[in-house]
Every structure is written in C-alpha cells, then in structure tokens.
Symmetry: C2
Subunit: 136 residues, 2 copies
C-alpha cells in the first residue's frame, strides 16, 4: 500500500490538504502532520513513530515544506528506511498528481512528477493561453 | 510598494502563511485569500476588489495554488492590469524568497525565483548531502 504524509512547519499541511479535498474530494491515503503547533508533542518522537509504523512492503511518500528546514531534516535521518520516499517543496499540483496517479512504481512516479514541475510553477504574465491546462 | 497575496482554494493560503511566519516571522506585506471557505462571499467580486485596490505605481504579486484552477483562472482575467504579477504553484521556498528578497525589479525577481525551483522541489532519496542548503 502507498500512503502520503504531508509534513510542514505549522498549519500548511492541513491547509493544502483542505485545498486538495475541495478540488478532488477526500482521500483516505493522505495525512497531514503540522509540526510545532502543539508544544506538548515532541516532533522527533512523532517522526520516529511514523517511520516505525511503515509496514514491510508498504510505501510512505513524505512531502515536506522546505529543503533544509527542520521538518525535512528530521525525515532525512531515515532515508535508508525501506519504503520511505521523501520529497521537499510541497505544492498543490504535485499533491493532486500524487493522489490521483495509478502508476504503481513510486520512484518512477515521483521522478515523472518532478519533471513536470516547471510547467506548473509559472509566471502567468509570461505564458500563452494555449499552454494552460484544463480547469479543475 | 510591493505586496504579496496568496490565493488558494480553501485554507492552503492561511496555512502556508502560518508556516512562513514560524520560520521567518510575521510580514506585513503578505496576505492570504482562502477562496470558497465562506459561502456568503462572491469570489469573483473579491478578486475584482483586490485588483481595483492596486494603487498606481504599486505592485501586487499574486501567488495561486494551481495553474488551470478556478482561483488562478479568475486572476488570469486581469493580467493586463498595471502592477499585477501572477504566479501559479505556491510553495514555501518561493514564498520565503519572495518575502525576503531585496531585488527591486519584480519581474526579474520572479524569473530568478522560478529558475531556482528545481533545486527546491527535490526527491531527497536521490540527492547528495552536500547539495542541501543551510537549516532554517
């Protein structure tokens, strides 16, 4: 089974999940981890528990807010853990494609999605109207 | 004056602003528009008001959630309005750089930031440790 975890400083993860749900509906495979919002929770322990709960044969795609940030750095420590895939730079086109894709090979899926990013993150004043994809 | 408006379906805009504030502190120049969260508000009118409030000589950088989505499409209608810059594909490294940059030329700034995006949105399982920027 492939699951997706959005992990960010503050409320970003919950916010973008709300946005995705408005566009494509709820998805059971996605969860949000809003780090540093509850001072009673130890973020390092939260991450450790998440990693330990990856079952053999399962895959967890963690998408974090920013490369070099505390959240991404914490997951970087577990990159050799079987089944963990880590992406930095969470954004909505990436999330929606991750949820909707039927590609079974997770590595191939992530590589293909990242190749498409320059088409999604655009200076709209510079693009021609025929380049714009269908409306969501 | 240059201002930044984050405009998204649902709570994404407010969420990522909260995330940026945790990392770099509050910024008076940034606002969040969470579309379709209040059924009493007409989104088209909200956008029209935002555009009309751009003062001569001022610049508004609108960063939306997804190219081809309802939010981005609504702002696309005003691309010929003086002072409006529209970017799709909101993400945290882009937002932080937009806030912190001292580059006075907004067009140049946006073009440079978008060029940097492939370094920020990465499959971390594939990168070497020396490529990772300093911690936030």
């Amino acid at each position: 089974m492939r699951r997706i975890l959005l992990a960010t400083h503050g409320e970003f993860a919950a916010g973008i999940l709300n946005s995705a749900e408005i566009i494509i509906g709820k998805s059971e495979q996605v969860q949000a981890l809003c780090a540093f919002t509850d001072p009673t929770k130890d973020f390092q322990k939260q991450v450790q528990t998440i990693i330990e709960e990856i079952q053999p044969g399962d895959e967890l795609v963690v998408v974090t807010d920013i490369l070099g940030g505390s959240v991404n750095n914490e997951f970087m420590r577990y990159l050799d853990h079987e089944g963990l895939h880590l992406i930095s730079g969470l954004n909505l086109p990436l999330l929606i494609e991750l949820i909707l894709s039927t590609e079974p090979d997770t590595e191939k899926l992530i590589e293909e999605l990242l190749e498409q990013m320059p088409k999604q993150i655009q200076y709209c004043n510079r693009i021609e109207f025929e380049e714009i994809p269908e409306e969501f």
